[in-house]
Symmetry: C2
Amino acid sequence: MPLPRLQLNSDSSEPMYLQLCAGLVTAIENGTLAAGMRLPAERDYAETLGVSRTTVASAYRELVDRGLLRPHVGRGTFVCAVPEAEQAPFAWRGKISTRVQRVANPALRHLITRGNDPRLISFAAGFPAIDLFPTKEFRRLTDHVLARSASAIARLAPTEGQPGLRAAIAAHFKVRLEQVMIVSGATEGLSLIAACLIDKGDAVIMDRPGYVGAIQIFRAAGADLHGWDIRNADPGELEDLIIRYRPKFIQINPTFQNPTGHTLPERDRRSLLGLAARYRVPVIENDSYRDGYFEREPPKSLYQLDGGRLVLYLSTFSKVLGPGLRLGWIIANEYMIDQLALVKERTNLFTESLGQLVMTEFIRSGAYDRHAELVRKEHGRRCDAFFESMHRHLRSQISLAPKPSGGIYAWGRLPGGYKSADLLDRAINAGVAFGTGEIFYPDESGSEQLRFCFANLLPEQIEEGVKRLTKCFMGQQTTRPVAGKKLPLV
Amino acid sequence: MPLPRLQLNSDSSEPMYLQLCAGLVTAIENGTLAAGMRLPAERDYAETLGVSRTTVASAYRELVDRGLLRPHVGRGTFVCAVPEAEQAPFAWRGKISTRVQRVANPALRHLITRGNDPRLISFAAGFPAIDLFPTKEFRRLTDHVLARSASAIARLAPTEGQPGLRAAIAAHFKVRLEQVMIVSGATEGLSLIAACLIDKGDAVIMDRPGYVGAIQIFRAAGADLHGWDIRNADPGELEDLIIRYRPKFIQINPTFQNPTGHTLPERDRRSLLGLAARYRVPVIENDSYRDGYFEREPPKSLYQLDGGRLVLYLSTFSKVLGPGLRLGWIIANEYMIDQLALVKERTNLFTESLGQLVMTEFIRSGAYDRHAELVRKEHGRRCDAFFESMHRHLRSQISLAPKPSGGIYAWGRLPGGYKSADLLDRAINAGVAFGTGEIFYPDESGSEQLRFCFANLLPEQIEEGVKRLTKCFMGQQTTRPVAGKKLPLV
């Protein structure tokens, strides 16, 4: 090996090991030492250079730290890279935390992007009838708030939320104001709860299939996820999971569930709460869809049935008014609200004020209830239109789960062996999108399933979307005989 | 020890160990087994009961899991608690993550609370002249946005931010739109950066004293913090810190710094960047106060001097318009924007839309620049008023750091041995508040120092606040001879 001939000066004010470093860097830069070459053993090199072994060891360690050398146990130290010129872009990639490496899954982003792509008729992202957004009322109330207290929207505000909005929600749920915290959407709620409760390696039980955001948030926090089949709702299965995994908590969306549309009957709710009480496992209830029932109010929430002891309640205005407002709330005991506020303070200090002040007026004036009533009816109509279109065009190709009694989702299954991700590729080319099933499973099964959000499309758009989807199957018929085949029930 | 007399039934469908559990729980509940009692050794108890040792071991383990028993190695298994009745509130405390335990410091909340307490003249929280908030213009632009595109504020929006606002910021900083990300305030920016870059145990170098929020956010993410004296700005000290701790990054607020008001001269900026480049350490530049110069523009940002290679830039509208808007931005290369967006997606999906759309119009119409100009002049006047009042009333009691040339803070020091936390107790009673020094130190020194935000008080309020503070020292004079004493320079 061509050793670089270095002159080290023991009279210099620069330490010997840094002089050696500089010499080695030059040798690496000019190619005398090429990537992959092995450096001499510390002892040998020290002898050659007439310096102490410590000097050589320090220099090697320094260059290992700078990323230029790499030690291989028992094999020696190797040149591993050419140093980047100071002009070169910095390799940020090497700095990324393991936490972020755990979440490098773009499923959520794809849903959002497809929900906003004007070329697509999108059943993908989950949002309500935005076309019904109460523009006039919202504009009036916003102006009212700004006229009355414009500078209030610029001031610091409490991390727990604007007192008026907390009070309005507290009154609706018959809890104290101190038990309510405003969050920037249910996603922030889940994220604060995860930060507050999950330590790396903690087990979490959640509904299966379940909300993709919850899966990704809990996983990012370091949780091991275990799914409980929400539609079977077998207490035996739940007890087995609790005993086996000793979960930090159970997370569930029991009403008009995302993604299946399923609603847990009161009997199932009570047995879930019984198990939670027996094993002292807290329950996170994501109840984001409650206000979106079509005809009859859903069963009492877990929070209500449990009296708020073991259950932490989470909801949002996104599924009635629209996700752009980023306003949701948590109901919990004051101790937990305090802990969640400590985390939120370090996440974004507090939720912006104008939206909260307007929403307070929106609730107080009765406009929220009126709008929810309107949305409920229209979502019911759109749900009917979707099931009717699907039955007419695709009953042999996609088997749908029972029609939900509220919410914004329908859940379906493709015939055996046909993957929804493959269908989605064809569908996007045909100008229509949906959610693929596997993103809703913590164990990445569900590849034959699919989720449709019917709430934000007019009946004629729904019909057109379903027709476009039909075309994807036509092309398939020659190779995959799916049409006309009797399909398994979902 | 009175062993509970249990009848276990091997013909029952309930496993033997669960029967034993139930019996032990009853015994604990009725006091037969009191907290602190030792249970018999597994082998002995199995013999007594005529069951296998496994049954006893399983029952003990189950009750350890339920929190009723606690094993002590070599000493046996003890009753550690009375089981709570199902009606009792759940002990959420035991579920809190270690991450949250790391951040149980209310310093930030105290600053906010004191900033909003109407009984106080508060120099505590850091915000600009809210009384100048451009109410009329903001109301007009909000109405304009709602009239033009009300439903846009309800829709899903990109995690990276509204394209219009990104474009406006990109144009100002002469970068591409893809390099800009909108965040819900600088606090969210720091929090996303921390989640993206910090692994537990990573070293981070930051300015000392420095922003309390940064200290708490980095610490919550698991970083070990090492302070670099921002006012000395000694490159030798920085190089020592880099070599000793190999930091993941350096975070610094180089312009009108929080809390000292200090601005790093261009020479110091260049030596900092030289070291960062030599050791390949990225730099997070928090530049939240740049637009708040009083007369002359501050030196070029680190981002500008470095050409955006090693520097990630963060700023906010909070220090010109007010913190209630929760709008800030990050400028970085596209790879980092992607990573940060992945984290933000799991934090709150995206920042609410109305504020972004209004801010876009606010910038485009020139109203932002006009307002910044107004705020700059007024902040300069209030800074003069503050220094003048302090000189008149408290020059012997509080030694102030040099008057800043922008921003919203003044930094001071009390005579030796007098703690600012003690002064604050008296001050709050007297109706005035400030920030205590130690919260701005990662090593909790600085207890004799204090931070004043002068920007949100009218000159007459400043004078009154300083007078109230003077009273706190009067009471002290008999026991602590601080007045008239020559004080060390800060």
